[in-house]
Symmetry: C2
Subunit: 370 residues, 2 copies
């Protein structure tokens, strides 16, 4: 008698604080449906947008899943997680074994789920249509951690630098949350493309400068502590930059965002792409809008994916994959939380919450077979 | 013996509330300097930007004037007022009697001061270089009140409709302060150009609908009371518009601006051009920026004038003059305060303050010789 395959699913049936609403369920993984492929998720980063979605502060496109647990309990809810890289473990007998781009799908291939938001990646197994996967045929130089930060954070950094204003070499960008996944990639891509970065970071409680050293290593030109943002010293730095400061990226929102806006020079474009402070509004001083001609806008990757073709997505992804392969950029630092090799449901749940509430960027790793 | 010409100047030496800082001075008007022309201001509207400047919430470009009053007191300060239309009353013996565009300058000609902000218009007389005036040779169909609302409010309405997004016939614009000078012109120009307007007005204390009737007469398509802005009814109106709502104009700032932003559909551009509420910041909800892709910017006419040629200014002005001549639009409603025909300095001062604190739009009229 064959042993049953049991998968783990991380599900929320109602919105709220992750520790209150996230449930983990054991589900028997049946053999793949004839027209589908079975994907084992290898690596899924925990991104701020995942948490916003769970909390209900993010538009919801995901279909609710119907799961039957191994204890025969029926569960309905959303499988969490926007980003992840998986591996093909089974191909349905009648499946057209080609991905959306016509690439042949084989067992062992690494894939990215194509649709953003309709599939939750925080699960060991997901069954997909062949047309909903993108095969990464050339794995050379890649790791799941590298691939796993391209579709959300990598693309966000890339497109914010590339699609909002036309930057010229020597131009400056300023960003808060510089140590975030996106922030790290902004620094590296800016360096590669000849732009310069001013990076706002929080002061560590113990005063150490580990983050500062790391971001400098990535190519950060200037680092400013958050509490020094509106100081005379910072204003002097901004005033005397050798190139124009054209773009500001804000992933913090709230008072930190208002401070950032306040130090910008004329004509700078202020782009919000997150609410890490948990505050969901920014008090914009009107004189900045009128007299300094600051423009305030948002960047949402989902809009970009909706409005551009798969070929355009691939251009960005492949460019990032190549840069990662050649070690011209490094993937965001993320602490991997091994979600395999656990004995009880409660230990899975507690490790999940450790990962979610980790002060460092974290990622869920669902398999040892990398 | 010739009688002396005495002029009135409205001056502020320090910034603050108009009633506290505005001073009016009697000054002997000497014969014009050989290379200058003497202009008698006929009509100067009181615009919100004038008051902001006096209060110190507006960048200051004006040169401080040195005046010697008839009582031999020396006064140094800024002559208030950004906009006005004047009449040439004297031409210097050595003046090149041509304006900036080469038009001949003659006594009796109506002129607009060319430089925005360096000349204060709240005075009976100003001496200018011929190159600092624009002669309006064809006065046919014009009045000082018509000419006096083109350079600031007319041009603001015109350019906000014309230069921020490319609007198509059938598109909607929403604006608060719809009864302001700019608001009235936005309604009329939008109507002429095939756009449609949603107009937010305050409820009159006595519940009368005078404003509503007047704005409808100007061509307003939809009128909404400020306190009903976030109602289900308004949301339904916005949802069911037969054309896209593309632009929002805010001259109020503060909570009213935040409310306006909140009801906008995806992709709408929110433009602030004033702070009539006295609050100088707007709390922008981040989900509007990210998920609805609302862009927030300011419009400042001074930028536009700086960045465009005199020929471009004239295109806008002449277009507006023609529309006013042909009665295709009407000038903003403004109550004229006659500043001539007053006996004592104190009555001039008190009439000035009546004009400034009038609940209606007001204009200063310095001469009966129209």
């Amino acid at each position: 008698m064959e042993s049953k395959r049991v998968g783990k699913y991380i599900v929320f049936s109602k919105r709220g604080e992750p520790k209150q609403v996230l449930e983990t369920h054991d589900v028997e993984i049946k053999p793949v449906s004839p027209k589908k492929v079975m994907v084992e998720i290898m690596y899924a980063p925990i991104n701020p947008s995942d948490l916003l979605q769970i909390k209900g502060e993010y538009p919801n496109f995901k279909k609710r899943a119907q799961l039957t647990t191994t204890s025969a309990k029926s569960v309905e809810g959303h499988v969490a997680g926007h980003e992840g890289v998986g591996r093909i473990v089974e191909i349905g007998s009648e499946a057209n074994a080609k991905d959306k781009l016509g690439e042949k799908i084989e067992v062992g291939d690494w894939i990215l789920p194509r649709s953003m938001g309709t599939v939750g990646t925080w699960a060991t197994h997901i069954e997909l249509s062949p047309s909903d996967v993108i095969v990464i045929k050339n794995k050379k130089g890649l790791t799941p951690a590298k691939v796993g930060s391209v579709v959300v954070n990598g693309a966000t950094a890339y497109l914010m630098l590339d699609s909002i204003v036309k930057l010229n070499p020597g131009d400056y960008i300023i960003q808060n949350g510089a140590n975030s996944g996106v922030g790290q990639l902004v620094i590296q891509l800016a360096k590669l493309w000849g732009f310069r970065t001013i990076n706002i970071i929080r002061e560590h409680k113990n005063g150490n400068n580990e983050t500062e050293v790391y971001l400098k290593k990535l190519g950060a030109d200037i680092i400013i502590k958050e509490h020094e943002l509106e100081s005379a010293e910072t204003k002097k730095i901004i005033k005397n930059l050798p190139g124009p400061l054209r773009l500001a990226f804000d992933c913090v929102s709230g008072p930190a965002a208002a401070s950032l806006a306040r130090i910008l020079p004329n004509r700078c474009v202020f782009v919000n792409y997150g609410m890490m402070s948990g505050v969901n509004s920014i008090a914009v001083d009107v004189p900045l809008l009128i007299f300094k001609d600051i423009k305030v806008c948002g960047f949402w990757l989902t809009h970009w994916y909706r409005e551009n073709s798969l070929e355009d997505w691939l251009k960005v992804w492949n460019h990032l994959f190549d840069l990662l392969r050649e070690d011209r950029i490094v993937a965001q630092l993320a602490e991997p939380f091994n979600m395999f090799d656990l004995e009880s449901k409660s230990s899975f749940q507690s490790r999940l919450l450790d990962a979610i509430y980790s002060p460092k960027k974290a990622a869920l790793v669902f398999t040892s077979k990398l």
